[in-house]
Symmetry: C2
Amino acid sequence: MNNLFQLAGSLPEAECFEPLARGEKVLIERIVSSGQQTPAGQWYDQPQAEWVVLLQGQAVVTYEDGDRYTLNPGDYLLIPAHCRHRVDYTSQQPPCIWLAIHADLCLAQ
Amino acid sequence: MNNLFQLAGSLPEAECFEPLARGEKVLIERIVSSGQQTPAGQWYDQPQAEWVVLLQGQAVVTYEDGDRYTLNPGDYLLIPAHCRHRVDYTSQQPPCIWLAIHADLCLAQ
């Protein structure tokens, strides 16, 4: 049985992006961060929305419009397509475990 | 900030299916179970694949072909479309918190 909380004994220096399942316009991936942050002055600008939940650790996500979110385990965000954002902080101990779903998504009613 | 681990003070008797985000052929939902199981002799038979992770509690999922999975927090499964399956057990304390993504998915390489 695969488990999202299972990590390699020693983490690489770079963030790990691990695709778990995919479809035509859908990608489910686990992301493991341990102290990395988006380089200064850079923004993610993605063609698809991203629904992301932090499952372990603590992280800070900032939007270009100034909104700033401190995420703790279980906290989730729907980042709209082309909403410029960056990751300003990820904890090292424990490492951050994220689950991200990339797809053309909007909030469910 | 919305949090997957946040539950209402008292849970309803039925399982809760809460859509969180959706797209044309994608649905992300949280499921909260607390002791319910699929009624005897019944099987889920879904037109789309379901990627599902158990985030809290313990649960048992059985496939019609006999495979049986005991899930603990972090364990995940990709249930193919039309793969008949049932939930044979869900813990009450703590309640089971699942995150499910319904879409046309296959395992990522």
